[in-house]
Symmetry: C2
Subunit: 464 residues, 2 copies
Amino acid sequence: MALPSGQRISLLRLFNRIIKNDIRCCSGRAPVRKCLSKMSLYPPTKQKGEFSNCKSQSLFLYNDILFPCHSGAYNYLPLGLRALEKLTRLIDEEMQNIGAQKIAMPSMIKASLWKRTGRWDTPELFKLKDRHSKEYCLGPTHEELITDMVSQFGMIPYKRLPIMLYQITTKFRDEMHPKYALLRGREFQMKDMYTFDTDEVTAKETYERICDTYCKIFNRLELNFKKVAGATGNIGGTLSHEFQLPSDIGEDTIYTCNQCGFGSNVELIDPIEVESNNVSCPKCKSEMEKSSGIEVGHAFYLGTKYSSVFNVYYGSRYNEKILTEMGCYGLGVSRILQAGVEVLSTDKYIRWPTLLAPYQVCIIPQMQGYASEEFLEISNDLYDRLSGLPNLKNEVVIDDRITMTVGKRIYQADTQGYPNIVVVGSKTLKEPRMYEIKTPKISSDSEYLTLDQLIDRLSIIETI
Amino acid sequence: MALPSGQRISLLRLFNRIIKNDIRCCSGRAPVRKCLSKMSLYPPTKQKGEFSNCKSQSLFLYNDILFPCHSGAYNYLPLGLRALEKLTRLIDEEMQNIGAQKIAMPSMIKASLWKRTGRWDTPELFKLKDRHSKEYCLGPTHEELITDMVSQFGMIPYKRLPIMLYQITTKFRDEMHPKYALLRGREFQMKDMYTFDTDEVTAKETYERICDTYCKIFNRLELNFKKVAGATGNIGGTLSHEFQLPSDIGEDTIYTCNQCGFGSNVELIDPIEVESNNVSCPKCKSEMEKSSGIEVGHAFYLGTKYSSVFNVYYGSRYNEKILTEMGCYGLGVSRILQAGVEVLSTDKYIRWPTLLAPYQVCIIPQMQGYASEEFLEISNDLYDRLSGLPNLKNEVVIDDRITMTVGKRIYQADTQGYPNIVVVGSKTLKEPRMYEIKTPKISSDSEYLTLDQLIDRLSIIETI
Ligand SMILES: [Zn+2]
Ligand SMILES: [Zn+2]
């Protein structure tokens, strides 16, 4: 299709401008300014959503959040990784707020450690040998490794307890049936935390404090969750709670009491009651309600199960040598990323927990003949202005893919779930210059704001 | 040893204050303020430096940066992980400045991909099978995986090139002889970047741009480095440069020409010249100088070696289907962390690249009878003041281990390498209140500053 010659010349000037801009900002020799975050820098994937009855999986594949690798393993594309890194920062912030310290342990764990706790025969362990035929597993969890490490710290003075150590790293599980992308993968990101306390009372205080922090995290993510009593399973211990996001595709069955608030995983409930479909609350005897949930967090009070195997002692006030009381606390980081989207989104539109959106603001310059260059210039200036706000540093992206219509780009920004979409269009050229802003989570209508109004609005967004 | 009763009472009040403070700031139920960064929250390790002729290894073990796990694998303790995360952020910033996009790929890679490039028999590969007997390796590098992924994007429009994708993840190598902690480990952090270009000319422009960025990164880290021609080895390709940090413990032998600046790895030099100990510069014929280096970065121009195996094409301006030209670019992230300390430190004192110090400011309250409580109070106020500066958010720690003398804590802060050590002592109680500040990298003397002077000084520190 031949364009009118005026428009062709204009597009040519525009291309040249973009190319010059790239050379100016990306020349290694004398970089004048850093590259803007631009959609044109993203790899174009041509990805189609795979068929799945899991909405979030389809949305992630169709919107360039993930790219499939092999069974149970996905590549994080740039937008997906940005969201994951935000979730990681949020968890770091909340963990450090309660005085927990972040560490990182190796993925490979010596077989001998898992043999000491009798867990070596777990069927989900990935196992391998090194060139000297020594055996290792790829850690799905690190109770053995950390307890062995802390035991080497020697007897810990009681004043230095509790110790709260956590990591956010890749974990491995040889799932029989990987499913729903990040919801049940064979490699996944997990926050695992291990605590050491003087006695049962303080260990349970620590337990409560961490559970409260988990609640705070889910609240900050706008996620409706249920905290229910859980089974201790392979991890062991005597007390356990699960954090569940109610969802039809959840693989856990939970019962909750609307009367007193108590909740429980089906695993803890008398199978006869379950079968009769009439479960009464163990606390208040009211009838309990059945639902499905995605497990996103788990807390275990372990007692001395691991500290007694690896000999982790503290020195008491009276100089006695006493076993520490342990707890362990998991958050399925990559699972939360997807489960959060699963419960907040529609079939067509990703709706992120707002804090996790890959960018808080997407600027879309209209493309329209002669004016295109001016739209792009205004968009770049707006980018600079907004990125200069303390809360929006690194939170603004320009969709400069000028070969796509403005309508298509707005639609994509909406499906990808940016909380604020700013269109630089014809109303931005006339005085008073107005910017069109869409906030899809709040309203499907557009608003038109002046630059000052726009900055006022966006400068108060919470970011992580 | 009995303390004078006045001092005992004072210490008791102090303990109570600290305990109250903890309850106040850490109560899960109603957290009033977040926990300060306090040394007392760190796990006390009783670690002794292992004997090693590698200074940085001893310093890292003795100063609670790392804790040994098994051969070639270390745990990052809280301070070590903080430094590693800063290096990660620095690299992210510089990569994104040139328009590179961050992704994350799985650790496990299907054997079939490595068989296609003929690299499956690499002896350093860790290999494993899943429960269905499918074979995988743990990726030491991801050329196969990423090229296979990008090939699935279909034919890429030429306007969308170059594509620059990178990740910073754990890599695995079954080293025959792991050595010197992070310098030669079996699990390590690597930044690996892969680029796709239209032709040799643009691919080499991309190559230069990335090499320039590597130079910038080492400059920001204050590291004296040499960029030398390297062999292409197992990765393949036709052009390669290494980034080397000169060091006696370096395992690479490099030759550099003081006349024209050219440098080369010994692997590229005629063995007869090497044996004769008389190597002349291939560019200007001057005699070259021999030295040892730690390889910290590597750039490879790959041509179509991988794109031809996995069929990564772009669509040219004239709609031709043409193989992309690739490059790959590594930075040994964990290796840089330790090698940087190796070349900057003395035998006793860690000297970090300033940007990477785990905290920029360590506040040490003196403990002295009645005044102890006041010292601690002033320190907490100072902590709030400094942490409130935009550049020092999360960069201040208080060493509140009141059972250690102030001298011992200052010595440890010096060995752990905090760039700014602020002592709150007797001069801080008298008017005008003076704070003692030590900046070990600049001078071994103390200075005494007023609060305003101290804030002026510290508010301009660059942080990452
Ligand atoms: Zn009830
Ligand atoms: Zn020369």
